[in-house]
């Protein structure tokens, strides 16, 4: 558990962080968000003492960070920065082994761990361990950065805009992997971003900051439904129904589907059963495409009735948010999208109707929240906000 109490950081006249207090329970993801320059990075770096607070205290599991030698503290806190900062003269494996070496681990202790972590972040060690950073793409480098932060198994992970420097599709994939890894490893994570969608997607709690102050600290749902101020309301954005879809995962609404490894017409036709489409997979179950059963019935051979796809692009994962699944459907112009696991094996599909179903619930919810009602809900402790509004 991380506890910040009245933490303040001043640079001369500038107050970068102004009396911020919050608590992150163990195993939860806290996303720090807010406009540029609001003090997110400063707050994060005070936790591992890369910046010393002017006043206030920070505790990790009840221990004041100021009572630990900074180097010692940092070796037990994973740290990922936006610019990645891989050591260019070291191989991927050597980069990942940095902290274990600092901790004095023996080679035979850290080597398997390094390979395991590279596997976890989706970089097969056989292929990537001996590469140098400049041989990697931005997304791959970012994964190495995450593996490097996780390898010594720190209970706490600090991430400063870790997916900021990659293209949107890669970012989406990295986010999905983050969710998957976090579900497995259950770290306490403090994650900085200025992307609201990313925050909603990943956070157990969001700490929304504004010019050094903590505006609101709560679950994403609460920030969306009960913003503490007009600033929070505006910052979270107007497309709330859509945003809420960012909270629900495909796993919650997907259904199982028929699939076949293809082959003879009769086999495919039987797999069709009564449904309109049937998915095609290889022997290992990896998605290869689908067959339109109507076209098949019309007498077209299976090869021609089928559509071949690359699952990397055409499918979503159980961890994918409904929002991303929806945008994928709109992008392809389909009413269904296949769901595959991390290795591309077909596990089900999600339909537009299913997503609409969850939206309908949300809509009724929103309809109950008149704009005035929301603003009226501003709590007493922010008089400044009230002045602004009246």
């Amino acid at each position: 558990m991380i506890t910040l109490r009245d933490v303040t950081k001043r640079y001369g006249e500038v107050t970068a962080v102004d009396g911020v207090s919050f608590e992150v329970p163990s195993g939860e993801v806290c996303v720090l968000i807010g406009p540029s320059g609001c003090g997110k990075t400063t707050t994060l770096r005070m936790i591992n003492r890369l910046i010393e607070p002017t006043s206030g205290s920070i505790e990790i599991d009840g221990q004041d960070v100021m009572s630990v030698r900074p180097e010692e503290l940092r070796r037990h806190i994973g740290y990922v920065i936006q610019s990645v900062g891989l050591f260019p003269h070291l191989t991927v494996a050597e980069n990942v082994a940095t902290v274990p070496k600092l901790l004095g681990w023996e080679r035979r202790r850290y080597e398997p761990k390094v390979r395991e972590l590279l596997g976890i972040v989706g970089l097969p060690p056989a292929e990537y361990a001996d590469k140098y950073p400049r041989q990697l793409s931005g997304g791959q480098a970012q994964r190495v950065g995450v593996a490097r932060a996780l390898v010594a198994d720190p209970p706490l992970l600090l991430m400063d805009e870790p997916f900021g420097a990659v293209d949107p599709l890669t970012r989406e994939r990295l986010q999905a992997e983050f969710v998957r890894i976090q579900r497995e490893l259950k770290k306490t994570v403090i994650f900085v971003t200025h992307d609201v969608d990313e925050a909603i997607k990943l956070a157990d709690r969001i700490a929304l900051m504004r010019s050094g102050n903590l505006e609101q600290y709560d679950t994403p749902e609460t920030l969306l439904d009960h913003p503490a101020s007009k600033f929070v309301h505006d910052f979270m954005g107007s497309d709330r129904a859509l945003k809420r879809l960012g909270r629900a995962r495909v796993a919650n609404v997907m259904r199982t589907v028929e699939s076949t490894t293809g082959g003879a017409r009769s086999v495919v036709a039987e797999a069709c059963g009564g449904s309109r489409f049937v998915y095609l997979t290889d022997e290992r179950g990896v998605l290869e495409g689908w067959v339109d059963c109507k076209v098949l019935d019309a007498g077209t051979p299976p090869e021609e009735a089928g559509t071949t796809v690359d699952w990397h692009e055409a499918a979503v994962h159980p961890e994918t948010t409904l929002k991303d699944a929806l945008s994928r459907m709109l992008g392809f112009g389909f009413r269904n999208v296949a769901v595959v696991d991390a290795d591309g094996r077909l596990v089900g599909e999600v339909s537009l109707a299913a997503i609409e179903g969850t939206m309908a619930d949300a809509d009724t919810h929103i309809a109950n929240l008149e704009e005035g009602e929301v603003l009226g809900a501003i709590p007493e402790e922010s008089p400044a906000e009230r002045d602004e509004l009246t």
Partner: protein, 365 residues
């Protein structure tokens, strides 16, 4: 082109009755067959240089190497031919035409290495040239040239001087490394050290070497030391070696990506660990480059320290001037060039050996 003109028009060798007085000049054609081979190779170089093609680089290498080897061969033949039956005191020296051809050969050779992508081809060509030079040196009559005769007379002393020269330059660079690298590190940590250190070092660099030896007299006297001999020479050389090493160390460290340093700190590296494990390896290429520049510089300046009795190859150069014995001067100057080239090549080799392939251009695909 220049080489061709030089070869045909300028005197190729000088035929002199003894080692001091000047004599008569002969053109390249005294060398018979060898001279025709030389002319043919120069023509080849010209044709290749003007007609770009896929194997242009390799052909340039062949032409350059051929020119160099044919030149040596022709010189040997000419020397033997001209001295046939003459008394032992007669000398045959290398004339301006031959020098020009040599220069031409080098230009063509380096154009060739630059135009050749394949490392293998360059290696093979290099080895072939070395073998050729060795063969000609053994059987080609080069020993009959005046330069070689000077060497035969001076050989004991020559090697002593080479060793002295190496020790002088090596000590200068050694101290330069020992002082320059820590100063460079300090400069990257501290503004005052940076401004003062780099400022002073670049002032030193602008002092002409002769003036430097003079300027050292006063401070050395104050320390009770004489301004004559090895100690002041080493001090002067160290001062000259300092700037390139210190500046490159500083620039190398200052150029390390701030994000990389931040990552290192964030993972719990202390200042020393950060310096040794991250900053030093990343600055290494520039540091080595600084040492290389310092070595080449100091090998040249070490010639001047002969004036204050520190020894070295400078002695041969100055004696040669004093006696107007050009070949003696060359006997001092040529090995200096060779030493400088060797220093340059070995530092490049060292760089290839110790710098991580992760940061060295062109080492990864």
């Amino acid at each position: 082109m220049v080489a061709l003109a030089g070869c045909l028009l300028l005197p190729f060798v000088e035929f002199r009755p003894n080692r001091i007085v000047s004599g008569t000049f002969e053109t390249v054609f005294v060398a018979g067959v060898a001279s025709w081979a030389l002319v043919a190779l120069i023509a080849l170089a010209l044709v290749v240089a003007l007609a770009p093609g896929r194997v242009r680089g390799s052909l340039l290498l062949v032409a350059g190497a051929g020119m160099g080897l044919a030149l040596l061969w022709a010189l040997g033949v000419a020397a033997v031919h001209l001295q046939e039956g003459a008394p032992a005191i007669v000398r045959v020296s290398v004339g301006p035409g031959a020098w020009l051809v040599g220069l031409g050969a080098l230009i063509v050779w380096f154009a060739g290495t630059r135009a050749t992508a394949s490392v293998l081809v360059r290696r093979i060509a290099g080895v072939a040239v070395l073998l050729g030079v060795a063969a000609i040196a053994m059987w080609g009559g080069l020993g009959e040239l005046s330069l070689a005769r000077e060497y035969a007379v001076q050989s004991r002393r020559f090697w002593t001087l080479v060793r002295q020269h190496l020790v002088l330059a090596g000590t200068g660079v050694g101290f330069g490394v020992l002082i320059g690298i820590p100063l460079g590190v300090a400069a990257s940590r501290n503004r005052v050290v940076r401004d003062a250190g780099l400022g002073i070092a670049s002032v030193i660099q602008t002092i002409p070497s002769m003036a430097m030896l003079g300027l050292l007299i006063a401070p050395l006297a104050a320390l009770g030391l004489t301004a004559i001999g090895t100690t002041p020479a080493v001090i002067a050389l160290t001062l000259y070696a300092l700037l390139p090493i210190m500046r490159n160390t500083f620039v190398g460290l200052a150029g390390v990506d701030a994000a990389v340093i931040d990552a290192g700190r964030g993972m719990g590296m202390g200042r020393l660990q950060l310096l040794l494990r991250v900053e030093a390896p990343l600055a290494l290429p520039l540091v080595i480059e600084g040492v290389r520049a310092a070595a080449v510089l100091v090998i040249g300046i070490a010639a001047v320290t002969a004036f204050i009795g520190a020894g070295g190859l400078g002695i041969l150069v100055f004696q040669g001037w004093g006696q107007q014995a050009d070949d003696l001067t060359l006997l001092g100057a040529i090995p200096m060039v060779v030493l400088a080239v060797l220093a340059d090549v070995s530092m490049r080799g060292l760089r290839r050996l110790v710098v991580s392939p992760g940061i060295e251009e062109g080492t990864l695909t």
